[in-house]
């Protein structure tokens, strides 16, 4: 008998807000978090569009010896995780006395690497890189920092699954709890926003160049989309066994019903249709629900031509013609990459809890594939109790989560 897995806390640090209430309001009003960053132009970027995000000053919350090992995305993840634990009613005493796990999506840490290499080249003295550089540079930097700061004692590792990292982290955390290996796992995803981290991504012409209209640049499913806009931040959900949550008297927000996954085994950057379709079908099968119970689909759709088209086809394959509302919150946030799978669960949760579906802003004209989907461009009032969230990544990694209100 598998354990039921519930969500008891959420926290987010995003271009749509630093609290759940701020983010809820931004989603509802269709706010865009995208800006034009002139510094990127000076660096030779093809597109200077990016999400707007400030690095938090944590001097009051953390000691120097805690902060020195944290790159920007670990700071975002700290803020999101502290808030999520607070909502879940978890204090340090609980963390000290229970084996709480940590699975977090992260797939790069470019800025510290660049700075250390610059120092080595200029100074010819590795000592001058400082003690934080190695810990900030590793892919597992978020989990190593959070594990030490919150003194976590369960599983502790980073999930690197490209733009599906955050979603896989939640799915894998749910599997551990379902099988009784962990009672609680802190799950999430983090994404650095500095230019170094995505300069080479810009170099393969993946980004929108609609620089004259930053807020209109990210337009998933729209006929006139011309690429994605990079974003970032961090999002954390507290996963817990249903029994544990009841025992603690914790706020039970939702249940993770299904996790589906697949690999395309195909092209490194171009997604196909079969892989995502398989991921969706697996999630639905594992959730054990009738597909008509799903009241909202949060698409991965990043605003690229091939990606959005093939996802639209996969969703159509599974759901049929215009049977459920589908939107991509990336129209507001840009592509939050390693964070996206986790943040989009929170965006969808906020919609589910507040009875609305945020419009897929900038969706003005469908193309041949998206024309078969029901995509509201403006926010609609709708109560739904179950949603499906897709996340796909480079190398053809796919993840799908199905979550039900409680």
């Amino acid at each position: 008998m598998l354990n039921r897995v519930v969500i008891t806390g959420m926290g987010i640090y995003s271009c749509l807000g630093k609290t759940l209430d701020e983010v809820r309001d931004s989603l509802y009003t269709g706010k865009s978090g995208i800006i034009f960053d002139p510094a990127r132009k000076e660096m030779g970027f093809r597109s200077a569009l990016t999400a707007k995000l400030e690095i938090p000053d944590l001097k009051k919350q953390l000691s120097r010896s805690q902060r020195v090992y944290m790159p920007e995305q670990a700071k975002y993840a700290y803020c999101a995780t502290a808030d999520a634990l607070k909502q879940a009613g978890i204090d340090q005493d609980y963390l000290n006395t229970h084996d709480v796990g940590l699975l977090y999506g992260n797939d790069s840490s470019a800025d510290p690497v660049v700075k250390a290499v610059d120092t080595m080249r200029e100074k010819k003295d590795t000592t001058l890189c400082g003690s934080g550089a190695i810990f900030q540079s590793m892919n597992s930097t978020v989990t190593m920092n959070l594990g030490c700061i919150f003194k976590l004692k369960g599983i502790n590792l980073t999930v690197s699954g490209a733009c599906a990292s955050g979603s896989h982290a939640i799915g894998l955390g749910a599997l551990l709890i379902q099988n009784g290996l962990q009672e609680m796992v802190v799950c999430g995803g983090a994404q650095e926003v500095n230019p170094f981290s995505i300069g080479s991504f810009d170099g393969i012409s993946a980004f929108s160049v609609r620089e004259s209209e930053p807020e209109k640049a990210s337009r998933p499913f729209d006929r006139d989309r011309d690429g994605l806009v990079p974003g970032g931040g961090a999002a954390t959900v507290i996963l817990e066994s249903y029994e544990s949550a009841v025992r603690r008297g914790a706020p039970i927000l939702a249940e993770v019903l299904g996790y589906g996954f697949s690999s395309n085994g195909d092209h490194i950057s171009s997604p196909n249709v079969d892989g995502p379709t398989k991921s969706l079908q697996m999630a639905i099968k594992r959730a054990g629900i009738d597909i008509r119970e799903i009241g909202y689909v949060n698409a991965h759709a990043t605003s690229t031509h091939v990606g959005d088209t093939n996802e639209a086809k996969a969703i159509f394959n599974v759901f049929g013609e215009k049977s459920v509302e589908v939107t991509s919150t990336k129209s507001q946030t840009g592509h939050e990459m390693w964070m996206a799978g986790a943040s989009e669960v929170i965006y969808s949760m906020l919609m589910m809890k507040n009875g609305f579906i945020a419009g897929n802003i900038n969706f003005e004209n469908p193309d041949e594939a998206s024309g078969h989907l029901l995509i509201p461009a403006q926010t609609i009032e709708k109560r739904f109790d179950t949603f499906l969230s897709n996340s796909f990544g480079f190398g053809g990694t796919n993840s799908t989560l199905i979550i039900r209100n409680m």
């Binding site: 001097k59 120097r64 010896s65 000592t127 001058l128 003690s131 934080g132």
Partner: protein, 82 residues
């Protein structure tokens, strides 16, 4: 450029106080560096890197362990300035 010793002391003290988040008044010539700055084996690296950057003096790895007090550090730096 060779700094006068007092100028060097003030520059080093200010940089250390800011980086390790203590009051500059807490730094005294006879004070123990590790205890005052609350250094562990990792943050000791940051102290050395900061002092090297501020003074332009490279502290040999084998010498670091011998420099216990701020006074000893100032002496080392002034002796090795060139």
């Amino acid at each position: 450029m060779i700094m006068e010793k007092q100028e060097l002391i003030e520059k080093i003290n200010a940089a250390l106080a800011e980086e390790f988040e203590i009051d500059v008044e807490d730094i005294t010539p006879e004070g123990d560096i590790k205890a005052t700055l609350e250094l562990d084996s990792l943050s000791l690296v940051d102290m050395v890197a900061l002092v090297e950057s501020e003074s332009g003096v490279k502290i040999k790895g084998s010498d670091v362990a011998q420099i216990k007090t701020f006074g000893a550090l100032y002496d080392y730096l002034t002796e090795h300035q060139n």
